[in-house]
């Protein structure tokens, strides 16, 4: 939890610039999330993985975009690597997630993908 950050290869200013572009919408959406978990069943990956809570749409955006806004872009490669698994391996951006409050979850996950990609963190299927 309290490990030393190794920020080599991560441009925090670049991340912050992308975060600021959608700041108003994202901050409001993160604040509005009531952590109710009612979005869970709308994700087919959640249903397909034996209802593993780590596949919940809210878990995915809280631990990617939520963390990025909380840390104001000061993340390292390890954080981004975890986010990569969240937003690519556990989400296919099918836009089917449903939030009772109306939070635009796919947009948040797309933003997380964009930030990861801007730092060169993305799945490289030909090498893995």
């Amino acid at each position: 939890m309290f490990r030393k950050k190794n920020t080599a290869g991560v441009n925090s200013n670049e991340i912050r610039a992308i975060l600021d572009e959608k700041k108003a919408k994202m901050k409001l959406s993160l604040k509005a999330c009531a952590h109710c978990s009612l979005c869970a069943e709308s994700c087919f990956l959640f249903m397909g993985h034996n209802k593993d809570p780590k596949y919940m749409p809210s878990y995915k955006f809280l631990n990617s975009v939520g963390v990025l806004y909380k840390k104001k872009g000061n993340v390292d490669k390890l954080d981004l690597g975890e986010m990569r698994d969240l937003v690519w391996e556990r989400c296919v951006l099918c836009n089917r997630c449903y939030c009772p409050i109306g939070i635009d979850i796919p947009d948040m996950l797309a933003l997380a993908r964009r930030i990861c990609r801007s730092q060169g963190v993305y799945p490289q299927y030909d090498r893995e």
């Binding site: 108003a24 809570p53 449903y98 409050i101």
Partner: protein
């Protein structure tokens, strides 16, 4: 100048939280809500409505399946013939209401749908229609609203507290809620429950110190009101603004904006 001992005295605190503090709370609440609504309106942008006609080459068969604003006609979502009668009727333009209901959040999660609906309706409804509040309004301004009988509002308060307990148990014991729960969730859940719990205890005079309980009741209510526009309670404004304005599959009415 008022002496410090007077400011920290019990009567002064009591008079302050039931006097000026109420005004402060309501002003912050209303100004905050207006500010947030205006902020939403400035963030949302109008999108042109595209009429999508079904046919060859049109992958988006029903515009409801897209994030595009849709033309629902003047009557909006109350339009007649929105649903077909049964699964056997092969009218593809209309949804089968049974399929729709099973796939909706009410069909997938009926228990939570009922609990949250009851909780949120009562959370706003009970304080407005409780007899004691209307008597205070009548004393202050000479106007009051219809009020519920005391035993009814007492029972409904119990229902609200029961619903909060259900939320609390979900947070504590259900894996999927536990994994996304932060300390703030417990804080705001207790802040939402506090006016009801203290009001219930004060009404039944469970503790002999009625004045302390009623002060806590007023104070927690004021804190909750002030918290609405700026904290997690913002989902009250967010839900209305987004679902009635932002175009999408689950929007209400002729939502045609985007952000």
């Amino acid at each position: 100048m008022m002496a410090l001992s007077h400011i920290f005295s019990w009567t002064f605190v009591y008079d302050f939280i039931r006097g000026p503090m109420v005004w402060i709370a309501f002003i912050i609440f209303f100004c905050g809500v207006v500010f947030q609504v205006l902020r939403f309106m400035s963030l949302l942008k109008e999108q042109p409505i595209k009429k999508l006609t079904p046919g060859p080459g049109h992958f988006i068969y029903s515009p409801t399946a897209s994030h595009l604003p849709m033309d629902r006609g003047k009557t909006g979502w109350f339009k007649k013939g929105w649903f077909k009668k049964g699964p056997d009727k092969k009218d593809a333009n209309k949804k089968d209401w049974r399929v729709w209901l099973t796939l909706s959040i009410a069909g997938v999660n009926p228990f939570m749908t009922v609990v949250t609906t009851i909780f949120h309706v009562l959370l706003i409804g009970v304080p407005v229609f409780v007899l004691g509040h209307n008597i205070l309004l009548d004393n202050a301004f000479g106007v009051s609203m219809v009020s519920l009988p005391e035993n009814v509002s007492d029972f409904l308060t119990g229902v609200v507290i029961f619903c909060t307990l259900i939320f609390l148990f979900r947070r504590l014991f259900l894996d999927r809620v536990k994994i996304i729960t932060s300390y703030a969730d417990y804080l705001f859940l207790s802040l939402a429950a506090a006016p009801f719990v203290t009001g219930y205890l004060a009404y039944h005079q469970v503790f002999s110190n009625y004045k302390l309980l009623i002060s806590l009741h007023i104070l927690s209510g004021e804190l909750m009101l002030m918290a609405v526009p700026f904290t997690k309670f913002i989902h009250m404004i967010y839900m209305i603004m987004v679902r009635f304005n932002v175009a999408g599959e689950y929007s209400f009415g002729n939502a045609s904006k985007n952000w």
